[in-house]
């Protein structure tokens, strides 16, 4: 199977984020970046499929220069090659605009499967994979934990709410969005890191893909969230804070 994995570079989970002066996005200077977690699970599933059924794993990402190390990380884990859609204006494109870029690049490869994480940790839209499927006219399934190749296509285990699951069969080519936890994530080996340096990363500019970038939804401003409750923060040393908390729980909240 020829599998494309669409991945995204996102701010590292513990990174301190600041709103930039435009109040439309965060200040990216000095930020640490990482591979989006559910995309890492999508990559893992693709690599396991290749190990079972043979084929090729191609990572696909859109972003500026800084996504380079994230691409190398995916290659070091075992992806065969990469496509980097070079663009500096991701933030001004809406979900449809970004999906159009990914779909246009993926189409040139005619893959059997396109995998992506179910949602990004920064925007959290949870839509890209589903829109890519629609744009390419392919069937899709979301929140997938397991993928099994069948005679005619694939059978997947889909997560439903509150501990329920469902099997879904679909023909290929298809698009799947992968939920975290279906597999154990691998680390890149030293050998993998060495090999990654010589693997092919094809660059294509957003302009070359010639897709419509006019947004129909605009992120106007960002802000700090409003508190839903007044939180009593308990200061002091760990011992003092712990003692204060027990007092509060016993005599104020009366839950102990």
């Amino acid at each position: 199977m020829k599998i494309i994995v669409a991945i995204k570079q996102v701010p590292e989970r513990d990174a301190q984020v600041r709103i930039d002066s435009s109040a439309k996005w965060i200040d990216e200077s000095g930020l640490q970046w990482a591979l989006n977690e559910s995309d890492a699970y999508a990559l893992e599933e693709a690599l396991q499929q290749k190990e079972k059924n043979g084929g090729e794993v191609i990572v696909l990402t859109a972003g500026p220069e800084r996504v380079g190390p994230t691409i190398r990380e995916a290659l070091a884990k075992g992806a065969d090659r990469a496509i980097h859609i070079d663009c500096n204006d991701l933030a001004s494109r809406d979900a449809l605009g970004v999906a159009r870029l990914l779909a246009a690049a993926a189409k040139q490869e005619s893959p059997d499967l396109i995998l992506t994480g179910l949602q990004s940790e920064d925007l959290g839209l949870g839509q890209t994979g589903v829109i890519v499927a629609e744009l390419l006219g392919l069937p899709h399934a979301t929140l997938i934990l397991q993928v099994e190749k069948t005679e005619t296509g694939i059978k997947v285990k889909r997560e439903l709410e509150e501990g329920w699951f469902q099997s879904v069969e679909l023909s290929t080519p298809a698009v799947l969005t992968i939920q975290s936890g279906g597999n154990k994530l691998r680390y890149a080996t030293l050998m993998g890191i060495k090999k990654a340096k010589t693997k092919d990363v094809r660059r294509v500019t957003a302009a070359e893909l010639a897709v419509d970038s006019t947004p129909v939804v605009v992120l106007e401003r960002i802000a700090l969230p409003q508190k839903q409750k007044t939180t009593q923060m308990l200061p002091g040393t760990p011992k003092e804070a712990a003692a204060a908390l027990v007092e509060k729980l016993k005599f104020e909240a009366r839950v102990l």
Partner: protein, 323 residues
């Protein structure tokens, strides 16, 4: 274009709570745009759901009925709803942000050249739609600028289901044209995972652990606190994904929903997928090294500190208080 169309979802044969919340959001949007609210039910036998929805103060209920909608498929729902939208040109589509909606609504919007504004928590003037960014650390205000209907899905618990008043709505039926060949996926019957042996839903005290614990070897620290309190232990998704605790101990949108007297969150940042499973708790305590973590937004008491120092101290304090 006119009317706010709210797509309802069924749960155990009834209109789901999330759907009533979506109607409440639709009514809020409708009052701002001066538009009537229509509820939409889809399926192969929608009469009961339509009757239930029609007893509310909305303008109309549309039954989208077709044998091929008996079981949910993205292809079936998208085909049917796209036809409904093209025939009735609503100004806005409002949906509950459920797993099912996440599966089809982005593609439905894209088919009509639109973009779904997903997981909306508030509706402001304009209208603008607020949603969370960066796992709840920030919020963003979105504005639709396209010419077609706007699509929004609303987060569970963000709008009040009980805001929907009783009334009497007219029921109409819309019959879409769907061909078997258009349905490209074969869904199986839903099944449960491993047998549920822990009922966190009935626990009075819960100590929940998250990514901050760093390693499975550190879990006994939290276990000791739970034992001292006489509490059940629970976890956020990453802990179960790593196999450090069984999946049945997971609290959140993909796990259990709990509302104990005391919910003590240790090293949990408070992504929305977790918060929806526990924010109904009577008293919430958060212990996290990051004072800006979203978990503190729902907490009654907070300690910003290193859990590896705070938890042992707390275990001792609990033991001392119980003597």
């Amino acid at each position: 274009m006119s009317g706010i169309f709210v797509v309802l979802q069924e749960r155990d044969g009834r209109v789901s709570r999330a759907s009533w919340e979506a109607i409440a959001a639709g009514q809020l949007l409708g009052s701002q745009l001066n538009q009537p609210v229509t509820a939409v039910v889809l399926g192969a036998a929608t009469e009961a759901l339509a009757t239930e929805a029609a007893a509310k103060a909305i303008a109309q209920v549309v039954r989208v009925d077709h044998p091929l909608l008996a079981q949910y498929t993205a292809d079936g729902f998208i085909t049917a709803l796209a036809q409904l939208i093209q025939s009735q040109s609503p100004a806005a589509m409002v949906l509950p942000h459920t797993y099912q909606v996440r599966d089809y609504a982005p593609a439905l919007a894209a088919r009509l050249g639109q973009v779904l504004i997903s997981d909306v928590v508030a509706i402001g003037d304009g209208p603008t739609f607020t949603r969370q960014l960066l796992q709840g650390r920030l919020t963003g205000a979105y504005r639709p600028t396209g010419s077609g209907p706007c699509f929004i899905s609303v987060q569970a618990g963000a709008f009040r289901a009980d805001a929907v008043q009783a009334g009497a709505a007219e029921v109409t039926t819309f019959t879409p044209t769907i061909d078997t060949a258009q349905i490209r996926t074969q869904p199986g019957e839903p099944f449960r995972g491993a047998a549920q042996t822990v009922d966190l839903g009935s626990a009075q005290l819960i100590v929940a652990v998250g990514r901050g614990i760093k390693d499975a070897d550190n879990l006994p620290l939290v276990q000791e606190l739970a034992t001292a309190l006489g509490a059940e232990i629970a976890a956020s998704r990453p802990i179960c994904d790593n196999g450090w605790l069984p999946m049945e101990r997971q609290v959140g949108s993909s796990g259990q929903t709990v509302s104990p007297k005391l919910y003590l969150a240790v090293g949990i940042s408070g992504a929305i997928q977790h918060l929806v499973g526990m924010k109904g708790s009577q008293c919430i305590v958060a212990i996290n090294k990051d004072p800006d973590a979203p978990i503190f937004e729902v907490a009654d008491y907070g300690i910003a500190g290193d859990l590896f120092e705070v938890i042992p101290a707390l275990t001792e304090a609990v033991k001392a208080a119980k003597q």
